[in-house]
């Protein structure tokens, strides 16, 4: 259960086409992440799948049933919202029970399921509190609890972690990943954070302006970005993109090299520059190298013990086999 197919789906608001014709299949049990910069249409796409927006044309099917015209309630999907969207006037218990109440489930079964979800999510002690009395992380768990009790065919997550602070975010990321391991239910997860996408996804869908730029596993996207956009979007710090004469040497309009694929040396090598800011993370250091004559600034990842000061000259050598080449249209050339 939980195979979702989009066929030539489009969405326009007035005259503005936010999603041009789009095809996508999400396999059963897959953890799919929609990622892209803000305004890329990823949330809209999720809302189309949820049924909170009508498609302008095309078809959506869930488990080979045409769901295009179905109202949200009939699609068998559960959603976790960015703001958690908990019902503030209901206790945690009632919040979690609400979807079950709506399908008029037997009260004993409701209680059983709510207790079950609460113990999985460490909410047992909070069942009689109101959402307002909970911390951000707890609210997030209540929202997830409300989604899992229905045993939906797929979960939809709309940037669920963006309201949490950094430490909690890492924790919740793991919890959601574990939840997926345990339930094996299809999950669609929207985020603008490529780290979340890389760490959680089985399959990443990179979107820009409603277009799918690339679909693939995290490592596929990292190693073989299909175009300049994906290359720049996936990976942190971002890939260095070099145009002009240097790129021409490789027979490309643009070449890209990731910061972790550049080595530094004392002796004269291919490229040379002046060290600006060094960001020390302890394990690694990110050097900002200026005056290379190639780009405004190049980021180079070196080990944490490299000791270079502001203003030092540094020699750089990219690992030739890991240079990405792109043509004038920005598409990858091999």
């Amino acid at each position: 259960m939980g195979r979702i197919t989009l066929e030539k789906v489009t969405k326009s608001f007035g005259n503005v086409e936010v999603i041009p014709p789009l095809d996508l299949t999400i396999e059963e049990g897959e953890f799919t992440v929609f990622v892209g910069p803000s305004g890329c249409g990823k949330s809209t796409l999720l809302r189309l799948i949820a049924g909170l927006e009508d498609v302008s044309s095309g078809a959506i099917s869930i488990d080979d049933q045409n769901a295009t015209e179905l109202p949200p309630a009939k699609r068998g999907l559960a959603m976790v919202f960015q703001s958690y969207a908990l019902y503030p006037h209901m206790s945690v218990r009632k919040n979690i029970a609400f979807p079950l109440k709506m399908i008029k489930m037997d009260q004993a079964e409701i209680d059983r399921r709510v207790e079950g979800a609460a113990s999985v999510l460490n909410l047992t002690d909070y069942l009689d509190r109101r959402p307002g009395q909970l911390s951000g992380g707890q609210r997030q768990r209540v929202a997830i609890g409300r989604a899992i009790v229905r045993e939906p065919s797929a979960f939809l997550f709309d940037e669920p972690l963006s309201n949490l602070d950094a430490a909690l975010r890492v924790g919740m990321r793991l919890e959601i990943s574990e939840l997926h391991e345990r339930l094996k239910t299809t999950m669609i997860y929207v985020t603008h954070d490529q780290v979340e996408a890389m760490t959680m996804a089985d399959k990443i869908v990179v979107l820009r302006a409603g277009h799918i730029e690339q679909v693939g596993s995290p490592l596929e996207l990292y190693h073989r970005p299909r175009n300049k956009f994906v290359a720049g979007f996936i990976g942190s710090p971002t890939m260095n993109l070099i145009e002009g004469a240097e790129a021409a040497k490789y027979g490309a309009a643009t070449i890209g090299i990731r910061p972790e694929h550049i080595d530094i040396s004392e002796t004269e090598t291919k490229w040379k520059g002046v060290v600006g800011v060094s960001e020390h993370l302890g394990s690694d250091t990110f050097l900002h190298v200026h005056e290379t004559g190639l780009t405004e600034m190049m980021t180079v990842r070196v080990t944490g013990d490299v000791n270079l000061k502001h203003g030092d000259t540094v020699h750089l050598s990219p690992r030739e086999d890991l240079i990405h080449k792109f043509d004038a249209q920005g598409l990858r050339v091999d």
Partner: protein, 276 residues
Amino acid sequence: MARQVTSKRKALNTVLAWGIGLLIFFPILWTILTSFKTEAQAINDPPIFLFFDWTLENYQVVQERSNYGRFLWNSVIIAGGSTLLGTAIAIPAAWSMAFVPSKRTKDILLWMLSTKMLPAVGVLYPIYLLFIRMGILDTRVGLVVVIMLINLPIIIWMLYTYFKEIPGEILEAARMDGASLKEEVLYVLTPMAVPGIASTILLNIILAWNEAFWTLNLTAAKAAPLTSFIASYSSPEGLFYAKLSAASTMAIAPILILGWFSQKQLVRGLTFGAVK
């Protein structure tokens, strides 16, 4: 400012603020006090402030002589009826504008507000004429309708600003959770909006209760509410201070109490959300 202030300065501020507060409140206080005096004491020279023979006689006289009860009842029907009718029409309208906004929502809201700014005197005669033709001059029904219409924009605006604060995602969550439109409104929207709806109703009862243009011009004997009842005391033969005070106190007491409850919501309601 959560800053500590010396208690000497606080004491000084307190005295000043209480002094000014009492000065502003004084006309009301004086009216209430006078209502318990005899007519002779009410115009005593020099005026007596507290040490007079307290009496309830004025209230009895006003009750008996001018049929206060009927005016009060008219006020209750007109203020309550127009508010409830207006709220019933406004809730669905405000719901749509807050949760299903379109490009024209803003224009519609501003246009509704603009109808509130039509000077009443400019349309007095047409309304007067229509009322005669329809046979609703000097009826409670007529006034309920007119006062509902003049306050409808405020009701819609207030509800709109309250509904707007309910995140749309919560209603969408209900939809995802399998709630029908009816269940969504009943179990999720309404419980969340109750405080807003209550304060909207409260403020509009106050505005309707005190409305004094249409109530003076469209009523005579039958449907006149308290505003007209009090105005009838302006003729010289009604000039008895104690009785005037008793009548006034009775006319303002209910609304003074309601008003104190609603003071927190007043600002927002009266500025159409422009100041919060």
